[in-house]
Point group: C2
Chain length 155, copies 2
């Protein structure tokens, strides 16, 4: 058993209610970092992008094999071959554009986490994280193309 | 308090003894995935790169402000602006090249984790993770150039 303590919390984020108009590519999120950890933000503002690692606290299901988005035109894939939330450890990892580091946290674009989500770590995105042409499955490219053609920008 | 359970373990990895000749860019690592989670690997082999999320179980120090690599020619930066291990939650995140998915786990290149390290999650690297020209601090570029000119390849 491994125990972790949140270093902060998502205070503005993706609404739990699906009816609210919100897009992770248009609406920013705000992460409050708890006072005892704020010193750790020093120098973060020099990066353009950060990883947010969080605990998907509302997630209860574990499903080891799923069809992405529950779609019948998608193959069955293992949860480690997919970024969905039904994981043995519901750890979320999202690459975000860093908008601003403030006195009490950070504002980001691209985060897909609900308000109240405990944040476990913030890591800067650097040159070791760039793969210019990663190989991905055919089904991923299909999903990507659908979203991409409807105009959502990269983070 | 958040509790997590490992989904696997690093069985071949970076030697704890610094005297052993080993490079994460030359030597592969093997992650055993525990039997009850192996179904989750289905389809992972179609990706070229994966993120390995792990618990740095030998790490005890938390240091919120550090000089990268302890070098006096580096500035003091916050731990969230640096990928080092002295974090409030010692979660490791490494982008690896996927070499092979086997019946009981996966072989990767680029991992910097000791044998015995508990693995928390495996996530595929996809198009949402690509930032072509991320902005990084000047000190990072200096470190990168030193390593890069000595010929280590990208993962």
């Amino acid at each position: 058993m491994i125990t972790l303590r949140p270093i902060g919390v998502v205070v503005e984020g993706m609404p739990v209610e699906k009816s609210v108009e919100w897009s992770r590519w248009r609406n920013t999120s705000f992460i409050e970092v708890y006072p005892e950890y704020r010193e750790g933000l020093r120098g973060l503002g020099e990066y353009s992008h950060v990883y947010v690692i969080y605990f998907m606290h509302l997630e209860r299901r574990v499903q080891l094999v799923i069809r992405p988005r529950g779609r019948s035109d998608m193959p069955e894939v293992g949860v480690f071959a997919f970024r969905g939330p039904t994981r043995p450890n519901p750890i979320g990892l999202t690459l975000c554009r860093l908008i601003e580091v403030t006195a009490d946290g950070l504002r980001v674009l691209g985060l897909d986490a609900f308000p109240g989500t405990p944040v476990l770590d913030i890591k800067p995105y650097d040159y070791y994280d760039v793969v210019e042409k990663p190989r991905v499955p055919e089904w991923f490219i299909r999903l990507w193309s659908e979203n991409h053609s409807s105009g959502h920008p990269m983070p």
